[in-house]
């Protein structure tokens, strides 16, 4: 990927654009995520996130409420902090589920077995669906339980994970070192465990970061639609949804702040993935 874009830039120098060095992107992205997690977990919220105050509705950002209050007087800062403790773990747990399914299935899919064919055909079938919509429908049907979001993320992230692991495993299996290991008495599963997995690991980490980003979008989309996370539990998507009418009449902070946080968090995970990819391809 990196080589291709590099080539294009050399051929058409007029179209090259200045871009953030990948290492810097990685540092910014991981820095933001670490700060976000640290603040939401270790800094006490200034107000209880669900406490309403009828006298303090739509207070603009200021000294008392740094990020203002919403239509029923809840502190926006407290709520976005509490929401981070709901949204991020869900996205990360969903990613863990995607990896737990994707890595073994990807390895199986890289063999020349019947199961491999079956897995790949199932993936082809899934590809026919718009996965985000499928996930929304599934969670809506399964009931508004917060934990139903985890399999929904796994459904979206799993297939890409399977394909990634499979293609990497296929190319590593053909390598001379995997072959030599096999010729020296390692079984197929030992070759997978000792050579293929460690070699794919960095790619998996990069992919995982992308799945977290996607998972965050799923969590936000679902809670925006009022599925999965029930009010009054704070969630960025739900806050965005609650504040969108108020934004039209000038109370912008209620919707914009969670919206910007979703954007920055998703961007950060993408920057992290991009940085790892860059390191893998040496640029």
């Amino acid at each position: 990927m990196a080589a291709v874009s590099g080539m294009r830039e050399r051929i058409r120098p007029g179209f090259s654009r200045p871009r953030l060095p990948r290492k810097a992107g990685f540092l910014v992205g991981s820095g933001f995520i670490v700060a976000l997690l640290a603040i939401s977990y270790f800094v006490p919220t200034p107000y209880p996130p669900n406490a309403t105050d009828a006298n303090q509705t739509f207070v603009p950002p200021g000294a008392a409420h740094w990020l203002g209050t919403d239509n029923i007087g809840r502190d926006v800062l407290s709520r976005v902090m509490a929401a981070a403790r709901t949204d991020l773990p869900l996205a990360i747990l969903g990613t863990a589920a995607a990896l737990a399914i994707g890595i073994p299935l990807g390895l199986v899919a890289s063999t020349r077995s019947r199961a491999a064919g079956l897995i790949m055909r199932c993936l082809d079938m899934l590809q026919a669906f718009p996965l985000l919509i499928l996930a929304i429908v599934l969670v809506a049907l399964a009931g508004s339980n917060i934990y139903n979001i985890i399999p929904a993320i796994a459904l979206i992230g799993g297939p890409t994970c399977i394909r990634l692991v499979r293609s990497a495993a296929l190319s590593i299996r053909e390598s001379r070192f995997a072959e030599a290991s096999y010729a020296m008495g390692s079984t197929t599963s030992e070759v997978m465990r000792r050579h293929i997995l460690p070699n794919v690991a960095p790619n998996i980490v990069a992919q995982a970061s992308l799945i977290v980003a996607g998972g965050l979008i799923v969590v936000s989309a679902l809670s925006f639609l009022g599925i999965g996370i029930k009010p009054p539990t704070a969630s960025w998507g739900a806050m965005l949804s609650d504040g969108r009418d108020a934004a039209l009449i000038g109370y912008w902070w209620v919707a914009v702040i969670p919206g910007v946080l979703i954007f920055l968090a998703v961007l950060s995970f993408n920057l992290i993935a991009d940085g790892i990819e860059g390191a893998l391809h040496g640029d």
Binding site: R112, E174, S175, R176, F177, A178, E179, A180, S181, Y182, A183, M184, G185, S186, T187, T188, E190, R194, H195, P198, N199
Partner: protein, 330 residues
């Protein structure tokens, strides 16, 4: 001929690769015997099936290659009928493998000591410390001066020669009876090639190990091996003791190989057949007929059986003429 049972005997092995453009007949009835304690060379041009033969023995044929028929017996046991589990025990422990391109043969992200550990642990439970001790001794015997530094390092930190020494140490760490080396010196520069081959030959002679050396370098076989198998188009065309075969070749192809090295006949501007062998449209007669100066109607219609002549085996209708040196040595 030697009469005791051979350590490794491949008989009538057929291997083919089905491809979209037709079935490639890589091996067409290869038979060879390797006796314990001998250094045996397998030689031939690209595509003659020498590597495929070695890979078949090790069970690492690349897809879509498949063994159609034949038998591979090691210490009297049929490898082709063994279960995967039983084979995994034989590989490494009894048959070692020295692959070509040593740097690529080492996992780029594992420390060298872990690669030793992987091979050792594939065969028996063993502690980390014991692994390291065994690896250290093996590296020293492979002529590496500072084994500890190498063990902690990675493949990319090694030179080609060092990497090949490491690979040889790994291949012999479980004390295998037979070691198969597939072009062990390709990619190494000439002085290093010599060091590596000297190392292999000396060690194997003193340790009474058996070597099956696959190479396209005639000089290497002439210098280091006891016996030779000359392959052409997936068949053994001539085999026997190195001095006998090289001293007086009886197959026109062997003779061509020797001439091409000794006399540099290729430099005289003479036409020589070249290009890759066509193994899809496999001819009925002698596979070498299309290139052979001695080929006649019989060669083109009837494949020569391998037979004994003058103390070696040869597959040619005109072997006597070649042996007598009567034929045109153009």
């Amino acid at each position: 001929m030697v009469t005791d049972t051979p350590l490794l005997s491949v008989s009538d092995l057929y291997v083919s690769f089905p491809t979209p453009r037709g079935v490639v007949h890589a091996l067409n009835g290869v038979s060879l015997e390797v006796h314990a304690g001998k250094l045996v060379g397998v030689i031939g041009e690209t595509g003659c099936g020498k590597s495929v033969t070695a890979r078949s023995v090790l069970g690492i044929l690349r897809p879509p290659g498949r063994i159609d028929s034949g038998s591979i017996r090691f210490q009297g046991e049929e490898l082709l009928e063994m279960s995967e589990r039983a084979l995994a025990k034989v590989r490494g422990a009894q048959i070692g493998f020295i692959p070509q391109d040593p740097i690529a043969a080492l996992d780029p992200i594992l420390r060298i000591e872990d690669q030793f550990a992987n091979v050792l642990r594939a065969h028996r439970p063993i502690s980390r410390k014991r692994c390291r001790d065994l690896a250290r001794v093996a590296l020293e015997r492979a002529g590496i001066a500072g084994p500890d530094r190498v063990l902690r390092g990675y493949a990319h930190q090694l030179s080609g020669g060092m990497a090949q020494r490491v690979v040889i140490a790994i291949a012999t760490i479980l004390d295998p009876t037979l070691v198969i080396a597939d072009e062990p010196t390709t990619g190494l520069d000439v002085t290093i090639q010599r060091q590596i081959l000297d190392l292999i030959a000396q060690r194997f002679r003193t340790e009474k190990r058996t070597l099956l050396l696959v190479t396209h370098d005639l000089g290497v076989v002439a210098e280091y091996c006891d016996e030779i198998f000359v392959m052409y188009a997936g068949k053994v065309v001539e085999s026997g003791a190195v001095q006998r075969v090289f001293g007086r070749p009886s197959h026109p192809y062997t003779r061509l190989l020797i001439e091409s090295v000794e006399l540099r006949r290729f430099d005289t501007g003479e036409e020589r057949p070249s290009g890759l062998l066509d193994l899809v449209n496999y001819a009925r007669g002698c596979p070498y007929a299309s290139r052979c100066p001695l080929a006649d109607d019989r060669s083109r219609s009837e494949a020569p059986e391998i037979r004994e002549l003058d103390g070696r085996m040869v597959a040619c209708h005109h072997a006597e003429e070649v042996l007598a040196g009567a034929a045109p040595r153009s």
